[in-house]
């Protein structure tokens, strides 16, 4: 079952690819003291062996294209093939980022239109496509908020409020951008506790970071009041777009009162996750924050598009060029194909799917909040852990044997033995029903034969891992073998 490492397949002198022969004279090499001293240990392999190697590795991986992937908060929807077809065009791949403006009008128009469409979808004024991932968008957003406060000579604002249930990137980003973090409590409804919020608001608060719907899959119905309170103390509202798939065309963060938002196009707008990236994290802002957006801006005048660098209050560049462009092209293609009607329909069906699966599973698990969910929901396996010694992890691992990707586990942190399911709109009712009956079978199995679950998976390429050994004696390269 083991696929040998490339380096273990290497044979001295074997070649997988030949460049054209050089047709210029050779020149004296770099001075000796600037030359590399020893050759790198890299594999020498034939083309067929490289093809086999990666094809074998691909068969030992799992994606949406193989099976249902209800990973909560990750929106693992179908990635249309159309998008990859389009991003293979020379008119996209062969364009250099520093070409003369007159030769990149197509790319600029696309970025301009995408910025405009995303502003419309979210109810914001304008934005930047430069951030390269969701967390990078958060970083950009908080930098903008910081620059805004400083432009008003308001230097006291050092705190960012974050609910306990927030994604780990929120506190990490706040910390990286130089803020301290204050946690906001969640009330019995699973929503932001208004009393806790009120008690924390003062003139040292720079912003609050929220998702809506939140990580429990619940809509923060007090959001207008939250916005009123937060703005009242002079702070800004940051919207983490992780859960936007629930509300496209139905409710807009801008209308809720948010000042800055980022989107995860690899979640909501169907661009592929690629095993962890590349994603893209466009940031959209309200008008008062526009001057602080990264440079360059893109402007449009009489059919001609230009980069605009002259923005004296800008936070500057957040990445090398203009964003993960090919990823952004996929997001734009998705918007074109879906349109206003399609995006709304996507959110409606995502919420329909989640409520249906929630209905099918409710009887079998404890649910922290009885109310209807949005695009995702959380159940708890606490009861199975206490009674039969079967944990959330065991349910997840058992799903691997049944050709499903597990839900998100142990998140949010305020629900014990949490399992968080997100069944995107691209999944059919049959898939949901089959999955639900599998989950219910597993709960039966927990009662009768817990060991089978605790030892799962049984049919995968490898069994459960020795994670402690991996972290204690890390082997991170083939040289260490």
């Amino acid at each position: 079952m083991n696929t040998p490492l490339l380096i273990e397949q290497s044979v001295k002198g074997r070649r997988g690819y030949y460049y054209p022969k050089t047709d210029v004279p050779s020149y004296p090499p770099l001075p000796a003291n600037l030359q590399r001293e020893s050759a790198p240990q890299l594999p020498e392999i034939s083309e067929l062996d490289v093809v086999r190697h990666y094809t074998r590795l691909a068969t030992k991986s799992f994606g949406v294209d193989i099976g249902f992937y209800p990973l909560g908060s990750c929106t693992m929807k179908y990635n249309p093939r159309l998008h990859s077809y389009i991003t293979s065009w020379d008119s996209l791949t062969e364009v250099h980022p520093l070409q003369d403006e007159s030769t990149i009008q197509g790319s600029l128009e696309l970025l301009y239109n995408l910025t405009k469409d995303l502003s419309s979808i979210t109810g914001m004024s304008w934005g930047t496509m430069q951030p390269l991932a969701g967390a990078h968008g958060e970083y950009t957003g908080l930098k903008i908020i910081k620059a805004y406060h400083q432009s008003r000579n308001d230097h006291k604002r050092t705190k960012v409020l974050i609910p306990v249930s927030a994604h780990g990137t929120n506190p990490a980003t706040a910390s990286v951008t130089g803020f301290s973090i204050v946690e906001v409590a969640t009330d019995t409804r699973g929503l932001v506790d208004l009393e806790s919020l009120k008690s924390l608001l003062d003139d040292e608060v720079a912003a609050i970071m929220l998702t809506n719907p939140n990580t429990l899959g619940l809509f923060e119905s007090d959001i207008r009041e939250i916005a009123h309170l937060v703005h009242g103390c002079g702070a800004q509202l940051y919207y983490d777009g992780a859960n936007l798939n629930a509300i496209m065309g139905i409710s807009r963060p801008g209308d809720m009162g948010f000042d800055v938002i980022h989107l995860n196009v690899h979640k909501t707008l169907s661009t592929p996750h690629g095993g962890g990236g590349p994603g893209a994290g466009p940031v959209l802002v309200k008008e008062h924050l526009q001057p602080f957006l990264p440079t360059p801006d893109i402007t449009h005048n009489d059919g001609y598009y230009s980069f605009e660098w002259d923005r004296i209050q800008s936070i500057g560049k957040v990445s090398g060029f203009w964003g993960n462009f090919l990823v952004l092209v996929k997001a734009y293609t998705y918007i074109l194909t879906m349109g206003s009607d399609g995006l709304k329909s996507a959110s409606e069906h995502a919420v329909l799917n989640a409520n249906y699966l929630f209905t099918l599973l409710k009887g079998a698990f404890d649910v922290p909040h009885e109310s209807r969910c949005m695009h995702e929901f959380v159940v708890s396996a606490q009861h199975y852990k206490e009674k039969y010694g079967v944990k959330a992890l065991d349910f997840s691992k058992a799903l691997l044997d049944r050709n499903y990707h597990p839900p998100t586990m142990y998140f949010p942190l305020n629900v014990s033995e949490a399992l968080m399911f997100e069944p995107p709109e691209s999944e059919s009712v049959e898939v949901l029903e089959e999955f639900a009956s599998t989950m219910i079978e597993l709960t039966e199995l927990a009662k009768t034969n817990a060991d089978v679950l605790r030892l799962s998976p049984h049919s995968t390429a490898v069994k459960r891992l020795d994670e402690v050994k991996a972290a204690k004696h890390p082997i991170l390269t083939w040289r260490e073998l």
Partner: protein
């Protein structure tokens, strides 16, 4: 007509009935009516895939391709077609971060091999599974250096860094405790002596780049020792293909190596996605940001790969994480690994050497044109500055060549605010250019300046 949603009318009815509501609308009851968006969003109505293709073809006709001598962080290199074919396997493309190692051994092994390759190229022991790009990698290196030395929040940065790396660093430092001190260059080289003189207790580390923004291969003989004597750390940013020829960051004594793997199998694509790399010495292993894949065993003792050292990361450590990075550039990193595997060490050296020779050939030919000036003293690899008499002369030549379908180089003045950069063109030559193309470049340049 909405694509990618499989539900029929009868599916919807069955589901709504089971949930116990009358309509989809009712599922959104928890959203206050005031916040419900009325009507349809002000964007286009949905189009068929065929119409979308037509529309985008029309829009992208306005992108005009040319024979490229543009570089400064993105290069027109030969990429074997096999690379993108292999990288587009559906399970690589449509997978999330491999949190479930039992069903992700393929992806994890591919990432482990990528890490191994970066370690081999840079000579430093530990690589992560990728960062966003080479520019943001500089700030991540800065963060490691600052966290590694107590009460030291100053970084010395050479002015010869890519102008965009400097901008990204500036944004990163803005409003935080970090102080960036930019050390002015000397004749297109890092001012090593000034840098050494600027070392102090407060200096956590130093960032330099080779080949630098002018393409110059720099010499760090005395720098590394002085930096370490000061108990600071050294980061070197490099084009990874150049490392086949030039001294590696590890051989210079660097603690951290960063850069961008675009030259290794990734198309320019208007600047992204590319892929940032970072490699560190063993003692900094637990400070490295982002995903790291380790080799371990499963409970039956079989070789098994997994994401490891996760105690550093944001989803565990939250506000005390070493970085906020979550998504990285995984698929771009795997594409780079496939490129390296296919081309092999001989092939990489061939590409690096051909770039060197072809750049030197063009450099030599252009040096014969009287109104142009080139730097004949500084060692360089595949990129060099071309000095014109004036900005007007440069603009004329660039636009003359552009009309002939040749992108002559990057106007340095468009990336910086320095007056003397206005008449400087940075010319990049890769293995992809033929002698015939280089000769045509020289001919048109002569014509333009005649």
């Amino acid at each position: 007509m909405v694509p990618y949603i499989p539900h029929t009318e009868s599916d919807r009815n069955r589901m709504l009935q089971a949930i116990g509501v009358d309509s989809i609308d009712q599922l959104f009851d928890t959203i206050p009516p005031k916040l419900r968006y009325k009507g349809l969003l002000p964007i286009n109505e949905g189009l068929s895939e065929h119409e979308v293709i037509r529309l985008l073809q029309e829009m992208l006709k306005k992108n005009i391709l040319g024979t490229s001598y543009l570089g400064m962080g993105s290069y027109d290199r030969i990429i074997p077609p096999t690379v993108s074919q292999l990288a587009s396997h559906p399970t690589f493309v449509s997978a999330y971060t491999p949190y479930q190692p039992e069903i992700s051994q393929g992806l994890l092994q591919a990432m482990f091999e990528y890490q191994s390759m970066i370690s081999e190229l840079t000579g430093l022991e530990i690589s992560n599974a990728s960062l966003y790009d080479g520019h943001t990698a500089c700030s991540e290196a800065g963060a490691i250096m600052i966290s590694s030395k107590r009460k030291s929040t100053t970084l010395l940065v050479s002015e010869t860094l890519h102008p965009f790396s400097l901008s990204v660093l500036n944004t990163w430092a803005l409003g935080t405790e970090v102080t960036l001190v930019i050390i002015p260059e000397t004749e297109r080289h890092t001012s090593v002596n000034t840098m050494i003189d600027s070392l102090s207790e407060e200096v956590a580390g130093v960032i330099v780049q080779s080949p630098n923004r002018y393409g110059v291969v720099e010499n760090y003989t005395s720098l590394s020792e002085a930096v370490h004597q000061n108990k600071s750390l050294l980061t070197i940013s490099s084009d990874p293909l150049s490392l086949l020829l030039q001294k590696t960051p590890s051989q210079w004594g660097a603690d951290i190596a960063v850069g961008d793997t675009q030259p290794l199998g990734l198309p320019s694509a208007f600047g992204g996605p590319s892929c940032g790399y970072i490699a560190v010495s063993k003692r900094l292993m637990r400070s490295i940001p982002g995903r790291v894949v380790g080799l371990s065993t499963d409970i039956e003792g079989n070789r098994a790969y997994t994401l490891t050292l996760q105690a550093r990361e944001q989803h565990i450590r939250r506000e005390r994480a070493t970085s906020n990075i979550c998504s990285n550039q995984a698929l771009a990193a795997i594409t780079t690994a496939i490129h390296i595997a296919l081309v092999g060490p001989e092939g990489l050296t061939d590409a690096a050497t051909q770039s060197y020779d072809k750049a030197h050939y063009l450099h030599e030919q252009l040096s014969h044109i009287t109104s142009l000036r080139v730097d004949t003293k500084s060692p360089f690899w595949c990129e060099f500055p071309l000095f014109f008499e004036s900005k007007a002369q440069l603009d004329h030549a660039v636009s003359f060549l552009q009309h002939k379908g040749i992108y002559a180089g990057v106007r340095l003045g468009s990336l910086t605010t320095k007056k003397e950069d206005e008449a400087t063109l940075i010319v990049a030559v890769t293995e992809k250019r033929s002698k015939e193309e280089l000769d045509i470049y020289v001919r048109y340049m002569r014509e333009a300046l005649a």
